[in-house]
């Protein structure tokens, strides 16, 4: 089963959409410079647009690599100012290790132009309809659901 780690960032109006993207890049690159950071910074405007649309409020930015998977959400409005649901802490593993990919949730109406715009900068950073789960997420969710099946017999046992 895939190990999944969740992080939640405070976005608008605590910080603007582009600064939110840059904070996410900081988390993923762990402060390192290099090709990964360059590639992520290059799509900053597109990332900011998706964040300003509040797409990562309910659907995660999903980061996959040769290690654990990272799911990133954003908080908005009063929740962003309050910040009590945020978790922006550093990761205890390399989230871009090996063959990494970033899947951005996108409003369906924006998907075509966002995908075209991303292609100009990266093959690793892609966009999906925010109502569509990333392929392996379905398996992960299914596994998690199976783990939580209610054991009525066990519950009622004395």
């Amino acid at each position: 089963m895939t190990t999944v780690v969740r992080r939640t960032f405070r976005s608008t109006p605590h910080r603007d959409a582009l600064d939110t993207w840059n904070a996410i890049v900081e988390l993923l690159t762990q402060g390192r410079t290099g090709a990964e950071r360059t590639e992520l910074i290059a799509v900053g405007g597109i990332g900011a647009s998706i964040i300003a649309d509040q797409a990562p409020k309910e659907a995660a930015i999903v980061v996959t690599c040769d290690g654990p998977r990272t799911r990133i959400y954003c908080l908005y409005d009063d929740n962003a100012l309050d910040g009590s649901d945020a978790n922006e802490g550093g990761l205890g593993f390399e989230p871009l290790k090996g063959d990494w990919r970033v899947s951005l949730p996108c409003p369906a109406d924006d998907l075509a132009w966002v995908q075209n715009a991303l292609k100009k900068h990266s093959t690793r950073i892609t966009a999906r309809d925010r109502d569509t789960a990333v392929a392996l997420d379905t398996n992960t969710s299914a596994a998690a659901t199976q783990d939580l099946v209610f054991d009525q017999k066990g519950f009622l046992a004395p």
Binding site: P13, R15, A17, S49, A52, D78, L81, D110
Partner: protein
């Protein structure tokens, strides 16, 4: 201990600037154009918006749509900035549905059309890196239609209007 969320003018500036850009992106897309150029310049656009909102010099954000062959105006959208800071109940409000409704009335623009974003300031605004003086295209033959308020937080907001051939 009881905690309350504190809204500052800076928070309002961040909220309004982001939602002005988001609204302009929606206008461009719904008009049948590619928002990539606006989005690629997000950093430059937000720098101008935030700087001049914070100093209260920003009056109007203008999206001009024009024919690249004739340089003539095809359509135009304005967001007039309203400063009544200190008023409001902290509600974050952005109404893109109203914009969508009016774009359907205006219709899509020719696919070869181009666009650019202009910021109009009151006199005395500091210079911001990447921004310089500019001039509007003529609106002769166009009429302005107001939608009213479409963005608002704690008294800082934007009233949207569009121009179409009279």
């Amino acid at each position: 201990m009881t905690s309350v969320v504190v809204n500052t003018f800076t928070n309002s500036v961040i909220y309004v600037a982001d939602n002005i850009l988001m609204s302009m992106k929606e206008i461009i897309r719904l008009s049948g154009l590619d928002p990539s150029n606006l989005v690629e310049g997000w950093s430059l656009h937000k720098r101008g918006l935030q700087s001049w909102l914070l100093s209260r010099h920003l009056e109007t954000v203008v999206l001009e749509v024009f024919d690249p062959n004739t340089d003539a105006l095809v359509g135009r959208w304005d967001i007039d900035v309203i400063y009544t800071t200190g008023v409001g109940d902290g509600v974050f409000w952005t109404d893109t549905a109203q914009i969508k409704y009016h774009i359907q009335k205006v219709g899509v623009v020719p696919s070869q059309a181009r666009y650019r974003l202009l910021l109009q300031n009151k006199p005395g605004a500091d210079e911001v890196d990447g921004w310089g003086p500019g001039k509007y295209r003529s609106t002769d033959g166009f009429a302005r239609h107001s939608l009213g308020s479409t963005i608002e937080h704690n008294g800082l907001g934007g009233n949207t209007a569009y121009w179409r051939k009279a």
